[in-house]
């Protein structure tokens, strides 16, 4: 099991369940459609159920926990296929128009059509990662350590809940664990200790 831990920053609304459920439904995952230009989309789904896009209080809330899946769909075409399809379409258009070279606008339009045709032929790849947020402790676990997914989670989380996620680190863990002004002030001044200067060549 690999999980990333976050601290949630900000005040929770008064009616957490109702408010969050409404907000979540605004950013449910919406499947990609071939006729759209979008090549990638992310949104919320039920925890452990990437195809379940009907979030209810029973599915989302359990005790102090809020559980969700972050689903991301993405069209990924092999570059060689895109290149070959584009070359073929460009040949066809050149012959049809009797042009030796295509203009930039024609090439861009051709690429748009080729990609749209590919989107009709291929299914998007799907990735779903679960998260569990302890609303009492304001801590959240996300079952991935991918920097790309963590960034996407942060963006969607902030849009959905109006709260900020701060990834665990020695500094953030210290901020959350230390009490007392003196220790907090010392944390701001702390510098690397010289273990090695004394240890070097003497152990």
């Amino acid at each position: 099991m690999n999980a990333s831990k976050f601290y949630v920053q900000g005040e929770l609304p008064k009616d957490v369940h109702r408010s969050f459920l409404q907000r979540l439904r605004l950013r449910l995952f919406q499947p990609l459609r071939p006729e759209e230009e979008a090549e990638e989309r992310a949104g919320w789904c039920a925890v452990g159920q990437p195809f379940d896009l009907e979030l209810t209080a029973e599915k989302v809330f359990s005790g102090p926990y809020l559980s969700l899946g972050l689903r991301t769909d993405r069209y990924r075409f092999p570059p060689a296929v895109v290149h070959a399809e584009l070359a073929q379409a460009a040949d066809g258009l050149r012959q049809k128009r009797g042009q030796e070279r295509l203009s930039r606008t024609q090439t861009a339009e051709l690429k748009r059509r080729v990609l749209q045709a590919l989107r009709r032929r291929y299914l998007p790849s799907m990735q779903a990662v679960d998260l569990v947020w302890n609303l009492e402790r304001q801590e959240l676990y996300f079952w991935s350590r991918s920097a790309r997914l963590i960034e996407r989670l942060g963006e969607l989380f902030e849009l959905s809940f109006g709260l900020e996620l701060v990834l665990d680190s020695p500094y953030t863990a210290a901020l959350h664990t230390l009490e007392g002004k003196a220790l907090q002030a010392a944390l701001q001044q702390v510098a690397l200790s010289p273990f090695q200067e004394v240890a070097r060549g003497s152990r």
């Binding site: 665990d168 680190s169 020695p170 500094y171 200790s193």
Partner: protein, 193 residues
């Protein structure tokens, strides 16, 4: 300095924390008391990565039954490297957790939780999360204990010199260890929201 800068410039605290865990395990035979939480048995095992805190590319990876007891680990410490990743085994409240701790990010990977005993899907879910949170609480509790001394004046005058002597091969007894830690301000557990 903003939050992002401070996070980046204090990642060495994680390496120092693991070195302190290593030191504490040696002195206390692996049994540490965490104020407000209880007694935990700690084993550092299976894998160890040491990195020069000033030159991130310089790293030594050691695997095996006792990577911390290897000459390679000792040599890396003498060259000024700090632990970056370490295999942890915690025994607490009759349960056992295994994980890899990344000292620079505090990320726990390859986590093995204690066996789940509850029945029913929801109970299973809660038990699993409780164990995961307990593991993070144990790391947090130990880190709090380390910081309490690390950020106090007693660090420079007492514990750092003791750890430097330990690195030179000097043995510290448990009583002296407790005295060094008792001198720091009392640990307070931060209340959860």
């Amino acid at each position: 300095m903003d939050l992002v800068d401070r996070i980046e410039t204090t990642r060495f605290l994680g390496g120092e924390f693991v070195l302190w865990l290593w030191f504490s395990r040696d002195v206390l035979d692996g049994v540490l008391a965490i104020p407000g939480q209880g007694v935990v048995e700690i084993a550092l095992e299976s894998s160890l990565v040491l990195v020069d805190p000033l030159e991130d590319k310089e790293r030594v990876t050691i695997r095996g039954r006792d990577p911390l007891g290897s000459p390679e680990a000792e040599h890396a410490l003498l060259l000024g490297k700090l632990p970056r990743q370490v295999g942890l085994r915690f025994t607490f409240d009759q349960n056992e957790w295994v994980a890899m701790l990344d000292a620079a990010s505090f990320a726990l990977s390859s986590v093995k939780l204690p066996a789940l005993l509850s029945e029913g899907e929801e109970e299973h879910f809660h038990e699993r999360l409780r164990f995961l949170e307990q593991l993070h609480d144990l790391v947090q509790g130990l880190y709090r204990q380390f910081l309490r001394v690390r950020l106090s004046p007693e660090w420079e005058s007492g514990l750092l010199p003791a750890m430097q002597r330990w690195l030179r091969g000097e043995v510290l007894d448990a009583e002296a260890y407790e005295a060094l830690h008792a001198a720091a301000p009392a640990a307070k557990r931060r209340r959860k929201a």
